[in-house]
Amino acid sequence: MPYASIIGQDRSIAILRRAQAGGKLAHAYLFDGIEGCGKRKTALALVQSIFCTEREGCGRCAACRKVAALQHPDLHLVEPDGAFIKIDQIRELQRELAFRPFEAPKKACIIDSADRLNPAAGNALLKTLEEPPGNALLILITANPGGMLPTILSRCQRLQFQAIPQPAIEAYLVAQGTPAETAGIAAALAGGSIGKALDVSSETVLQERQTLLQRLLSLSLGDISPLFAAAEELAADKEKAQEMLELVTTFLRDMLLLRQGSGDLSNRDLLPLLEKGASRFTSASLMGLIEQVAATRRALFRNVNTRLALEVMFMRLAEA
C-alpha cells in the first residue's frame, strides 16, 4: 500500500482519498510543503491509486510498479532542466497530454519543483492548467509557493503538507535502526523533513557539527589566519556552505534560547559548548549575528564570492 508508506501526512492523504472516493478529484493540485516531507511520494501514490488495475493502489500490479519506477507511458514527470523548467518542456508536455491515454484511465503529469518554472514556461502552462485536454491530472510540487505565479496558484487546489512533527521523525529513525539519542538530535535539526533527518543522522555529520561549533567559538580577530583558512575550506563546496550556515543559525538560536532561559534546544548534545558560547555573547549581539548569517545566506543565493562572504561573516562572529 503506497499511501501507507508515507509518514506524517495523514491529513493530506485523507483529503485526497475522500476526494477520490467521492469522485471529486480535481484536475490540478498543488502540493506545497518543505523539502523532504513526502510530497513527491504522495503524488506518486495518488497516481498509483488511479492507475492501479487491482485495487486502489495495491503497489504490486503491473501499473503500480510501472508508476513507482517512473516507467508508465501515461505518467509524465517534468523536472527542472538545469536551473529552470523551460518552455520547451511545457510544450512537449502539452503535446503529450493531447493524446489519449495508452492504458490508464487518464493521463497524469507531475511537475516537480514547480517554483522553478521560468516565466515563459509558467505562463505557457496556464491554459493547460485551467482546462487540460482530455481529463488529465496535473500535480505541481513545490517547497516555495511564494516563488510561483499567482495565476498558477489560483488554478490549482492547494494541499499544504505539514512539516512532520519531531516525535514522528524520531520514531521513524529509531525504526530504521538509528540509536535513540542520535535520532532525537537529528529529528530536532531536521525541521520536519524526513529527508534531512536521514542526512543528519549519520555519525559523521553529527561529529562535523561539533568540530564546526568548536571552530567557530575559537575564532578571534587577534589571529586571523585560522579564520581565513576556515573560510577557504568551507567555501570549497557551495552546497555545503549553505548547510553550514543553517547549522550556524541553529547554534546561535540555541545560545539565544539559553540566554532567554528556554530549554527547547536543537543541539542538545552540544550543551557545554553552547553554554560557553552563550556566556560570551549578549542577546542583542546574538540577534545581530543571526541577522548577519541570514544576510550571508541571501548573498550566497545571489551568487557572490562564497569565500569572501564567509570571511566577512566569520570576522563579524569573531568580533562580537
Binding site: R18, K24, I87, N123, P165, E246, D264, M287
Partner: protein, 584 residues
C-alpha cells in the same frame, strides 16, 4: 465525464452571472445595444475575476444565432460550441504557448477569410502579455484596421507588459477585485445549487482566503467539499484552511507588548505544535498589527477591517498603552520577516527571531515630546538652572547666566575656533606623517642618514600594504647598512613578512631609500616588549594622547567652557578636535 471543478462548472455563461464587474458588463451591453462595437478589446485584471469568462460571453453575444444581443441564448449551436471550445469561428489562442511571430503570421493568414458560419470571426488571445515583441509588432497593422468580420479580444493579468502601440489600439476594460460580500453571495448560490449545507461564517472564511478572486475562492470551496462531503462543519473548515486561532494571535501581541521573551518563544512552539504554516501565522499576525495600527490611527476601524465589533473591542483594549509609532515599527519588522520566512529553509527560526526582536524593541519617545522638552530647555535660562543646580543657588546663577547668554553668539566665534584651527594646522602636531615632510626626509637621507619613520613613509608611497605591515614592527636597528625589525612571534604580520619575496621587496626599497646596499633582517620577539623601541602605531597613539591632553588643558582654561560646566554642573567627558571649518 469526470468531475469538473466548481470554477469550471460554474463559469459565468451570461453577463448576468458575472459577479462584481458591472462596470464592464454594462459598457459592453450598451455598446452592443447601440451597435457601437469596437474591433479590439483588452480585458485586464487580477487572477480569477472573470476576464476569460467575459471574453467568451462577449464572443457568444456577438455570434449568437438569435442575433447580436446583450444576453446570448446559450442554446443555439453557436453558443454551445463556444462554451465547449469547439467553434470554428472563435479561436481561443493560448498567447503564452504560441508566442512567436510565426504564430501571429499564421493568424494573419487566417484573418483574411470570411467566417464559415457565424457573423464574426473572433480571436481570443489569452495571456497575451507573453507574446514576443516581434509578434506584437506583426499584429499592429491587423489590429488597427482588421476586416469588418474580425474581432479581437485580449485577456491578460499584466497589461504593463503590452507595448503602448497595442494598448492604444484596443478598448481597455479593467476588471476589479471582487468584494467579499459578493463572493460570499455567489458561493452561497453555488452551494445551494450543489445541495451542500454550510454556514455563512465558513463561506466568509473561504471567501477571505480567495482574496478578491472568484476562482481562488471556488478552488478552496472545492477542497472543502472534497474533504467534508455534503455537510460542512465550521471546525472542519478551520482545520482544513489552517485558519489561525484568534486567541493565539492576541496572546502573541500581548506577550510582545509585555516584553515577555519566554512567552513569545512558547507561542512559536505552540504554533509548531498545531502544525500551522509559519508563514501563514506570520501573515495573520501582520493582519492583526495592521488592524491595531488602523485602530490607533482612526479609532473606528470597522470599515477597514473585516472583523466583528467584539473582536475590534478586544484589539482596542490590547493596544491600549502602546503608541502608534511603536505599532508601526512592529508592523515593519513583521513585514520584513515575511519575505525572509518565504525564502528561509528554517522558517520557525525566523519567526522566533522577529518576535524576540519585537519583544525587545526599545521604546521610542515621540518626536513631539522631544520637541516639547527642547522648547522647555530653550526658554529663558530658568529651565536649565532649575534642572542642574540646587535651588538655593538658583537666583545667583541666574544673574550670572543672563549676561553669559547674551554674549553667547559672539563668544565662540571670537575666541575658541581660531585657536583650535591654528593648532590643527600647525605641522608639527599632525598625527600622520604628511607627504611633504616625508619627501623632505627622503632627500636628506641621500646623505646616508637612517630614519625609520621616513623609510615607512617612503614605502607607503610605493607599496601601501607593505607599509601597513611595517607599522606594526619594532625598529630594533635602523641604519643605512643594516635594518633589523622585531615582530611578536607567530603574529600575522610576522608570517606575512618572513616570505622570501617580501624580504626581497623590502631590501630593494631600502636600497632605493638609503642609496646603499642595506641588509634587512626580521627577528621574532616573544615575551615582554618593554624596553624595545615602540612601533609606529604605538608612537602614533602616544602622540595622540599627548595632543588630547594639550587640547583638554586649553578647553579647561576657556571661560565659556568653565561657564558651561558651572551652569550644567557637568564634567568634561572628552575633547575632540574640530577640522577648523565647522562652527562651534
Amino acid at each position: 465525464m469526470s468531475y469538473l471543478v466548481l470554477a469550471r462548472k460554474w463559469r459565468p455563461q451570461t453577463f448576468r452571472d458575472l459577479i462584481g464587474q458591472e462596470h464592464v458588463s454594462q459598457t459592453l451591453q450598451n455598446a452592443i445595444d447601440s451597435g457601437r462595437i469596437a474591433h479590439a478589446f483588452l480585458f485586464t485584471g487580477a487572477r480569477g475575476v472573470g476576464k476569460t469568462s467575459s471574453a467568451r460571453i462577449l464572443a457568444k453575444a456577438l455570434n449568437c444565432e438569435q442575433g447580436t444581443s446583450t444576453e446570448p441564448c446559450n442554446n443555439c449551436s453557436a453558443c454551445t460550441e463556444i462554451t465547449a471550445g469547439t467553434s470554428v469561428d472563435v479561436f481561443e489562442i493560448d498567447g503564452a504557448s504560441n508566442t512567436s511571430v510565426d504564430d501571429i503570421r499564421e493568424l494573419r493568414e487566417n484573418v483574411k477569410y470570411l467566417p464559415s458560419r457565424s457573423r464574426y470571426k473572433i480571436f481570443i488571445i489569452d495571456e497575451v502579455h507573453m507574446l514576443s515583441t516581434n509578434a506584437f509588432n506583426a499584429l499592429l497593422k491587423t489590429l488597427e484596421e482588421p476586416p469588418p468580420h474580425v474581432k479581437f479580444i485580449f485577456a491578460t493579468t499584466e497589461p504593463h507588459k503590452l507595448p503602448i502601440t497595442i494598448l492604444s489600439r484596443c478598448q481597455r476594460f479593467d476588471f476589479k477585485r471582487i468584494p467579499l460580500p459578493k463572493i460570499v453571495a455567489r458561493l452561497r448560490f453555488i452551494v445551494d445549487q450543489e445541495q451542500v449545507g454550510i454556514s455563512d461564517g465558513a463561506l466568509a472564511m473561504i471567501a477571505r482566503k480567495g482574496d478578491g478572486s472568484m476562482r481562488d475562492s471556488l478552488s478552496t470551496l472545492d477542497q472543502v467539499l472534497a474533504f467534508c462531503g455534503e455537510r460542512v462543519g465550521d471546525e472542519d473548515v478551520v482545520a482544513l484552511l489552517g485558519v489561525v486561532d484568534r486567541r493565539l494571535l492576541q496572546e502573541t501581541a500581548r506577550s510582545i507588548f509585555a516584553r515577555d521573551c519566554r512567552g513569545v518563544l512558547d507561542i512559536v512552539r505552540q504554533v509548531d505544535g498545531y502544525g500551522y504554516n509559519m508563514r501563514h501565522f506570520g501573515q495573520e499576525l501582520i493582519d492583526q498589527f495592521r488592524t491595531l495600527v488602523i485602530l490607533k490611527a482612526v479609532g473606528d476601524a470597522a470599515e477597514f477591517a473585516e472583523l466583528s465589533a467584539g473582536e475590534l473591542a478586544e484589539l482596542q483594549e490590547l493596544s491600549g498603552g502602546v503608541a502608534l509609532g511603536e505599532l508601526q515599527r512592529h508592523l515593519t519588522l513583521l513585514l520584513r520577516a515575511d519575505t525572509e520566512i518565504a525564502q528561509s529553509s528554517f522558517p520557525r527560526l525566523v519567526l522566533e527571531m522577529v518576535l524576540l526582536k519585537m519583544a525587545n524593541l526599545a521604546p521610542v519617545v515621540p518626536v513631539d515630546e522631544l520637541l516639547a522638552r527642547l522648547q522647555v530647555l530653550e526658554k529663558p535660562a530658568s529651565g536649565i538652572v532649575a534642572s542642574g543646580v540646587p535651588s538655593w543657588e538658583a537666583p545667583r546663577s541666574r544673574q550670572a547666566e543672563a549676561p553669559a547668554a547674551r554674549t553667547r553668539p559672539e563668544l565662540p566665534r571670537s575666541t575658541k575656533p581660531p585657536q583650535l584651527a591654528e593648532e590643527a594646522d600647525s605641522p608639527g602636531l599632525c598625527a600622520e606623517p604628511a607627504p611633504a615632510p616625508a619627501a623632505a626626509q627622503a632627500k636628506t637621507s641621500e646623505a646616508g642618514g637612517g630614519d625609520w619613520e621616513g623609510f615607512v613613509a617612503f614605502v607607503r608611497g610605493k607599496k601601501p600594504l607593505l607599509a601597513a605591515l611595517l607599522e606594526h614592527g619594532r625598529p630594533l636597528k635602523v641604519s643605512a647598512q643594516a635594518m633589523e625589525l622585531g615582530y611578536s612571534a607567530g603574529s600575522f604580520q610576522y608570517n606575512k613578512l618572513k616570505d622570501a619575496d617580501v624580504i626581497a621587496d623590502l631590501t630593494g626599497l631600502a636600497q632605493a631609500y638609503f642609496r646603499t646596499a642595506t641588509a634587512v633582517q626580521l627577528k621574532p620577539l616573544s615575551g615582554s616588549t618593554e624596553g624595545l623601541p615602540p612601533t609606529l602605531l604605538e608612537k602614533k597613539s602616544l602622540d595622540q594622547s599627548a595632543r588630547e591632553q594639550e587640547l583638554r588643558a586649553v578647553a579647561v582654561g576657556h571661560p565659556l567652557v568653565a561657564a558651561a560646566l558651572e551652569i550644567f554642573d557637568g564634567v568634561i567627558e572628552s575633547v575632540k578636535e574640530g577640522d577648523g571649518s565647522e562652527k562651534v
